[in-house]
């Protein structure tokens, strides 16, 4: 494991809403260049952790630090230069075109300055045929790709001025077909290679293995496992955390998961 300092870290964060404890003393450190998948059963606190890292939510106790500074000390505008986030459901009720949505990632930068970034993101996500289509008329997967392109433009704008940032993805493949799932994973990994810390909440363990060089397993608001795929994706872990029986195979040195039955 590299010894580079973390770009973003959660330090003993707890998140309590009324009686319920959503996250209990979670500490994670994420370095630039890493691709990290957060997995776990429903209600394990995956989205909550991501929303804490994004600054959406504030932890009940503990701290989140971005580039060494407490996250709460950033103004929203400043924060947008260092971390970008793709939410799970984005519902647009006005007829903005794909191009207009993607360009929103550039913030208030002049249109010309961001035009090439917008073009690049549209091409990278296979969106050229939909460029001038209105977003509400597209399928869920096409909309999801448009929002991912928007987030990539924001990331590129921020990184151009402030160096590598943090890319947070909440179930980014939930509406995508297989081809675009792979494309999204590859696109995210390219960002990591240029220094971005990429964190994604994923449900599909096989996709997580393909995407991530590190997997964090959450269970009931606590970190159940944290390490590379071969360390974390094991029969024992899956039966304990997900309560299903699986057979784990190995292909090219990476594990894969075959679901068998419920326990």
């Amino acid at each position: 494991m590299t010894s580079a300092p973390a770009i973003i870290e959660a330090d003993a964060v707890c998140m309590k809403v009324r009686q319920a404890t959503l996250l209990d003393n979670v500490s994670v450190q994420l370095r630039g260049g890493e691709t990290v998948a957060i997995v776990g059963p429903n209600g394990a606190g995956k989205s909550t952790l991501l929303r804490l890292l994004s600054g959406d939510l504030r932890s009940t106790s503990g701290a989140v630090r971005l580039k060494g500074r407490d996250l709460t000390s950033y103004a929203s505008r400043e924060l947008a230069n260092h971390r970008v986030m793709l939410s799970q459901h984005v519902n647009v009720s006005f007829p903005f075109t794909v191009e207009e949505i993607v360009a929103m990632g550039a913030g208030d930068r002049p249109r010309n300055a961001a035009a090439s970034l917008v073009d690049a993101a549209i091409a990278e996500l296979d969106l050229a045929p939909f460029r001038h289509r209105e977003l509400p008329t597209l399928s869920g997967g096409e909309q999801q790709r448009a929002h991912f392109a928007r987030v990539l433009v924001q990331l590129a704008c921020g990184e151009a001025d402030h160096g590598p940032g943090v890319l947070l993805l909440d179930e980014p493949t939930s509406s995508l077909d297989l081809r675009h799932q792979i494309n999204l994973v590859e696109t995210a990994k390219r960002r990591a290679r240029s220094g971005t810390a990429v964190v994604a909440v994923l449900h599909d363990l096989n996709l997580a293995v393909r995407f991530a060089d590190r997997i964090i397993v959450l269970r009931k608001g606590m970190v159940a496992a944290d390490g590379n795929p071969t360390e974390t994706i094991t029969d024992k872990m899956i039966s304990e955390v997900f309560e299903v029986e699986t057979s784990i195979g190995s292909e090219g040195g990476q594990p894969y998961v075959l679901l068998q039955r419920m326990q």
Binding site: M85, S93, F96, M104, G107, P129
Partner: protein
Amino acid sequence: MTTAEAKSAASRPLATSVSMRPAAFFVYAVLIAGVLAVALLATTVGAAGIPLPRLAAALGFNIANADPAMLARDELVLWSIRIPRIAIAGMIGGLLALSGAIMQGLFRNPLADPALVGVSSGGAFAAASAIVISDSAWGASFRFMQLELLPVAAFAGSLLTTTVLYKIASREGRTSVAIFLLAGLAIAAIANAGIGLLVFVADDRQLRDITFWLLGSLSGATWPKAGMVAPVALLALLAIPLIARGLDVLVLGEAEAFHTGIDVQRLKKISIVLISAMTGVAVSICGVVGFVGIVVPHLLRIVIGPGHRMLLPASVCLGAILLILADTIARVLAAPAEVPIGILTAALGAPFFLFILLRQRTLIGS
């Protein structure tokens, strides 16, 4: 993507949803020409209309063989009746359309309109209370105060209703279309019940003031009234650049707008105060005038797209065109009597609202 794929994509029938936006210069040129055209129309038609040949003289151009008596009469009508009325109609129309467009952006809902969801009624209730209370407490000697008192009261009433509506309709940064519209309905009912109560307790003179004003008319347009509206209109125009980009991104949702770097709380506060001030001053001048705030932004989105940097200023222009036109129709329809303008806009706007509702059924059903 290969060229073959590009060709097949391009040949797919996308006509209904492919959007090419017209150039900004062209849109503004058409809209401003439209404002001038309806203003010209409004001066020439109706009771005491000034036909075109006499208009130039009345406007102060040196025209040979103008009949001096006719000229004096034309000048009086033009400068102390017609022009203030057109100016007020234009400004109020612009404010109504702008407050509708901002409200739709803030609530992420193309069906929002201050008159529809009780904000205008809240303002009207506060203004009607001000009429009754000031008259009962201080009597006729303070009637002159109503010019200043009504807008302030209506602004306060609108601000309260908008804030309450926002608190009810949004939860964790999401606003529910159904809850928003239903809550607005309830708020409008409460405010209208309050107005009904005031009408019930008011004495004859107060009653005349309330009803005359509630029906909504621009017939009492004067320069001092125009002077009341102008600062709010100017302020609203200056505020457009502050909120336009924020409202664009807010379409994605509150959390997403925050992720993109928008100070969402500030944006919401500015928008709510603006909506309330614009609705308040409009209500205080001509009562509750509905549907301009829905019809105008909706038509414009079809042509120029939903981006607020252009939608907001364009709404001001088209709102002005629509209300000057509606006021002219109100003057002409039953001349020399006048149809209350609130009734006219409701009669024309409500069917249009139903038309939007049918077109967007899928959107609202979710």
